[in-house]
Amino acid sequence: MKLGLVIDLDTCVGCHACAVACKQWNTSGTTGPLSDYQPYGEEPSGVWFNRIRHYEVGDYPTNKTINAPMSCMHCDDAACVTVCPTGASYKREEDGIVLVDQSKCMGCNLCSWACPYGARELDEEAGVMKKCTLCVDRIYDENLPEEERKPACVLTCPSHARFFGDFDDPQSEVSSLVRERGGYAMMPELGYQPVNKYLPPRQRPKAPTVAAKQSEDSGGLIAKWLKRQKDAFNQLGEG
């Protein structure tokens, strides 16, 4: 199994629901709490596994706004795992989820420097590295209704821009979406083989119009409509 996410940039409105749902679930999750520093102070910050970036592409007036949620890509060849000196960071054999064993992590930050996606977050209070677990504590929990055994971000996404599934299964929703919509990996040139994929904004063909008519003045148009009305009425009389 190769579990991961597909994120649809065509429908992501940048609302941050996934980011906050992630924060909410995971602060009481397997690597929680996710500390918040100065929560009511001058420089509030905290541990988040999923952050939304907003970009503008192109210049006014042909500019486009792209909202790009970023979290761990669960890379096949994860640099964060390679560099971990304690063996705390690992990629699960069963499903490919990249995790950090909190009891083995010494908070050295090497993995964070190695990750090109900025997906790792050092919890300064706990002194250990934390990251997206793909909600491993939800997806296998048989006490949850089956349809809710999904990462919190996927469960909550209001514009259904997030999908979760097995990329090893060609029939899965995520595999089909990537195939049909031209899903791509972010920064594949770095060679880490990210599992998560993004769907590009759909290119809509130009909408058809009714053919524009030769301009007629208003008097002419009204006369025409009066005639149409009269004809219709006369026809009614005949019928």
Partner: protein
């Protein structure tokens, strides 16, 4: 697979369903509790509103519950201290309610209008409105007057349904969607769900907004329009549709007043009124008899076009004739509106013709037979799949009412109203144009009002004015200055009350309304007004009561503070009598159930209202001997009936809960709702789901359940006789009340066009537009829209302060670079703030995120929090009054029809601050902390249980090491 540990001890968890209140969307949620703490809040998949999803706000409910800004006990301003100084003493609820009741009892027994009761982030207007009516004051309204009234009134006076919350685009069938002036809206999750559906089906999404944020991001086409010109754009669409003969002839003839006859008798009191026969029936021109005949007689072959003369010699024209004469004019030709709107002519023409293509060449049908009101049988529902939605960017202009009508006109010409693929009403809408409820005018001591404080004027005789023509309401709603102010004018209350214009009041009660900060125009001066004293040393506004759950800026300016519960701590109703949660094809309502025990001495405001109303002896709440009719709020909700069988909750009625919509009180109602996940949904039969304005079965049902007063057709008013009556009054020709002041007369003449119209926003008409070259607007980010949660520990990490956003090329041409500090000036005031440059912004427009800026010390935030040190309000620049004109009384900065606050009419100029001039201006004093508020933690480590780590085995480390 290696066994995973048990992460959650489900045995010590419980799940309660309830309704979210992080904003106005009112989604169904499932709250997982662990002890008295919240483990997880998620969307309820069964819920009709959000269908399982949940936005950023809803997901941050835990941090609302944990906020250090929560009020903990009733507070009274300390004797001898000044209002606004933040000196409070804790008092008991008994003391607080005794004090309040005594004061109110005296007002009620003498002059009930001396109590003004206005509510902000309210979702219980049915209750607060009933309370005000029972008290006997007409000075009640919610915050709609500065939010949405242009949209509600624009629709209800034209189509009988409206944008805003009263309808939804048909997300499942629309092939073309046009979004006007919406970055985010009340229907936060439904819009997101819907946009994805549209895009999946390949529908086109066009967004009209000066700024490309929010939903605009994923639009197929973005039209960066100049603010305040949307009405002109809509009427240019009308022009193009008419020129190209793209309008739905049958739809117009059948369902609108387009065939009705308008009297053409200039200079008389009849001019512009609709022709009626002796019994008052509206007339059309019968082509067979060549004479007027009744509109209701559908056998008559009515002329859509033409001008005629009756045998009595009355000259008449059909509404449609007037309409095409107006909009075929070159004034509305794309090439003549392009410069003003900032949208080029070819784009305007193309968009109109694209919509026409979808409406008429891509028509859809749903094969369900239905019958219209006249007994005509239809084999199927014909759909013109063009949907629209419009809100704040239309609403917040002084031409918003007419602009909203212009947008509705485009829909109606296309036949795209309440048909498959178009904009669908949500029960109890559509309603007859306009709903037959008139605003109350008469008050008497110790006497409930005879009708609700708010209603729908149909002519000058319905205004709430005295014999002199002066306003009777404190906010001057329903006066000549704002005749159709259907939601009141909350933004004028403090200004008027302090100035004693039209009179002074004694007590102002505010619920969850931040009127000393981001919900007022001209914030700095409003704070001064709140502190203003008369010659006797008494406050001009003697007593201010605020009910809120949090330490807002308004709490600081209050004399009595009544601490509310959070939404997770109380029972509450979202009623069909109010702003319901219905879906287009289902009448719905819902409840909240208390999930968490409050840890503070707080009470639900609903409970307090019932308690105080009972103490005051309201007939609805107390018996003649003074004893309570209802033992508490829950009992009131179960047993109070508006009419036999109709109460706050439509579900599970009848003795055993077996009846829907109508039925006797059910003593187990709350339990029944809780068992049904806290909502009730009555799905309309399939033949009642479209064309409900004319759908016989729907109309009969709507009458039977009390939605509408009668079951006759709902006729769309392209031409508003109501507006014409006001216009006649302005011309001195109306047979009824007439305005005295020239300015009132002129405004009625200029702005009450019976056909949808566009005019230059009022502020722009009065200032030097060369000196103030930029439009200035604001938006709320999705993660804070309509929330009370800028202080939320999670949400504020997404944004702690705002910038002034400018079009990059335009700013650079002025020498303004990214992050420069600038002075922004309006005709009224100036502010200093920091600029950020972007592409997605109309070059003539600047904008910011609203309500991010906070007063230092409020909301449980550190006194140096960025919200107060770098965040700013645009409100300082906006005056609640229009620029003055010599010899004229000062006028409200509002829509002249509806009184809607004209937030977005603002024009400003921008100049670079001098080197070294940094920091926001104006700055405000730091608000003192309240007694016994909890300390703010320096670190939060929220978790409901100790984390269960997944241990990686040493053998795996050794075997695979770091290399997989």
């Amino acid at each position: 697979m290696a066994a995973l540990p048990e992460f959650e001890n489900h045995a010590q968890q419980s799940i309660k369903t309830t309704t979210c209140y992080m904003c106005a969307c009112r989604c169904g949620i499932k709250v997982t509790l662990e002890g008295n703490e919240v483990r997880f809040i998620q969307g309820n998949p069964k819920h009709p509103v959000n269908k399982g999803v949940l936005c950023a706000k809803g997901n941050a409910g835990i941090m609302k519950q944990k906020s250090p800004a929560k009020l903990t006990q009733p507070l009274l301003r300390k004797a001898g201290t000044e209002r606004g100084s933040g000196e409070f003493e804790p008092i008991s609820w008994d003391t607080a309610l005794d004090l309040l009741t005594q004061r109110l009892r005296k007002i009620r027994a003498t002059d009930p209008k001396k109590l003004a009761f206005f509510t902000g982030r309210d979702q219980m207007q049915a209750l607060t409105g009933l309370w005000a009516s029972q008290f006997g004051t007409i000075n009640w309204a919610a915050h709609g007057g500065f939010c949405s009234v242009n949209m509600a009134a624009g629709g209800l006076y034209m189509t009988g349904q409206s944008f805003w919350e009263f309808g939804d685009p048909d997300w499942d069938h629309a092939k073309y969607f046009m979004l006007w002036g919406v970055a985010e809206d009340h229907a936060s999750n439904p819009i997101k769900i819907g946009l994805e559906k549209l895009k999946r089906r390949g529908a086109k999404f066009v967004a009209i907004n000066p700024v490309r944020t929010g939903y605009q991001a994923i639009a197929d086409e973005w039209i960066g329009i100049r603010p305040g010109t949307d009405g002109l754009l809509a009427l240019a669409f009308v022009h193009v549709l008419l020129k190209n003969e793209q309008f739905d002839w049958d739809f117009l003839s059948r369902y609108t007043n387009s065939t009705q006859l308008v009297i053409d008798a200039p200079g008389t009191s009849e001019h512009g009124l609709l022709l009626r026969d002796g019994s008052g029936e509206l007339q059309v021109w019968n082509q067979a008899t060549n004479a007027p005949d009744a509109w209701v007689d559908t056998r008559v072959s009515a002329a859509l076009f033409g001008e005629f003369k009756t045998v009595e010699g009355v000259q008449v024209k059909t509404v449609m004739t007037l309409l095409v004469e107006k909009y075929l004019s070159d004034d509305y030709a794309p090439e003549n509106v392009a410069q003003r709107t900032g949208v080029d002519a070819s784009t305007i023409e193309r968009l109109a013709l694209e919509m026409a293509h979808v409406a008429f060449k891509e028509t859809i049908t749903i094969d369900t037979p239905w019958e219209d009101w006249a007994g005509r049988k239809h084999e199927k529902f014909v759909g013109r799949p063009v949907a629209m939605h419009a809100m704040r960017g239309i609403s917040a202009h002084s031409n918003g009412f007419q602009t909203c009508r212009a947008i509705h006109l485009v829909q109606i010409l296309l036949g795209a109203v309440d048909c498959p693929g178009s904009h669908l009403a949500k029960p109890p809408f559509p309603k007859h144009v306009a709903p037959p409820v008139k605003p109350a005018k008469h008050m008497a001591p110790n006497t409930p009002l005879a009708s609700p404080p708010l209603g729908f004027p149909m002519g000058p005789e319905d205004l709430v004015i005295d014999d002199n023509g002066d306003p009777l309401r404190i906010d001057k709603a329903y006066s000549w200055e704002a005749p159709i102010a259907n939601h009141g004018m909350m933004h004028m209350v403090i200004n008027n009350a302090v100035k004693g214009d039209p009179y002074s009041i004694d007590t102002l009660i505010l619920f969850m309304a931040n009127m000393s900060w981001n919900s007022s125009m001209n914030t700095a001066e409003v704070q001064q007004l709140l502190k203003k004293k008369n010659d006797d040393g008494e406050y001009c506004l003697p007593f201010i009561v605020t009910c809120d759950a949090f330490h807002s800026e308004m709490v600081n300016f209050s004399d009595l503070v009544l601490p509310d519960t959070t939404y997770l701590e109380r029972f509450d109703t979202i009623s069909l009598l109010d702003r319901p949660i219905s879906e287009p094809h289902a009448a719905c309502d819902s409840i909240r159930q208390a999930s968490i025990e409050p840890d503070r001495d707080v009470r639900p405001w609903q409970e307090v209202l019932i308690d105080v109303g009972t103490r005051l002896g309201f007939p609805a709440l107390s018996n003649e001997d003074g004893s309570a009719k209802f033992k508490d709020y829950k009992d009131f909700i179960v047993n109070w009936e508006k009419a036999p069988g109709i109460g706050f909750l439509a579900g599970f009625r009848g003795e055993n809960g077996e009846k829907s919509m109508l039925g006797e009180p059910n003593q187990n109602k709350w339990d029944a709702y809780i068992e049904n996940d806290c909502f009730f949904e009555y799905k309309l039969p399939v033949n009642q789901r479209y064309y409900r304005f004319a759908n016989k079965d729907y109309l009969a049902w709507a009458k039977s359940v009390g939605f509408n007063a009668h079951d006759g057709p709902i006729v769309m008013e392209l031409y508003s006789e109501t507006l014409q009556k006001f216009k006649l009054a302005g011309q001195g020709l109306y047979d009824g009340p007439l305005p005295k002041a020239d300015v009132d007369k002129q405004r009625l003449i200029d702005y009450f066009d019976p056909l949808p119209d566009w005019y230059v926003p009022l502020e722009e008409q009065r200032i030097d537009n060369k000196a103030f070259e930029f439009h200035a607007v604001n938006q709320r980010p999705m993660f804070m829209y309509h929330s009370w949660d800028s202080q939320n520990a999670w949400l504020r990490q997404i944004m702690t302060h705002n910038y002034l956003y400018m079009n990059r090329a335009k700013a650079l041409s002025m020498g303004i670079e990214d992050l420069a500090w600038v002075w922004v000036s309006s005709h009224h005031s100036e502010i200093r703030c920091q600029v950020k440059l972007m592409e997605g912004c109309n070059p003539d427009t600047v904008w910011t995120w609203n309500a991010i800026g906070k007063q230092s010390g409020a909301w449980g935030l550190d006194k140096n929090a960025p919200e107060s040190k770098r965040g700013f309000l645009m409100n300082h620049l906006i005056s609640e009054l229009l620029p003055s004109v010599e010899g004229e009384r000062r006028l409200t900065n509002s829509d002249p029809v509806t009184g809607q606050a004209a937030w977005y009419d603002l024009k400003v100029n921008i100049r670079l601050a001098a080197p070294g001039e940094t920091g926001v201006y104006p700055e405000f004093d730091t608000i003192k902390p309240l007694p016994s508020m909890s300390d703010t933690p320096s670190v939060l480590k929220y978790a409901t249980h100790t984390a269960v780590n997944i241990e990686r085995s040493m053998s795996d480390v050794i075997k695979r090491g770091g290399l997989r």
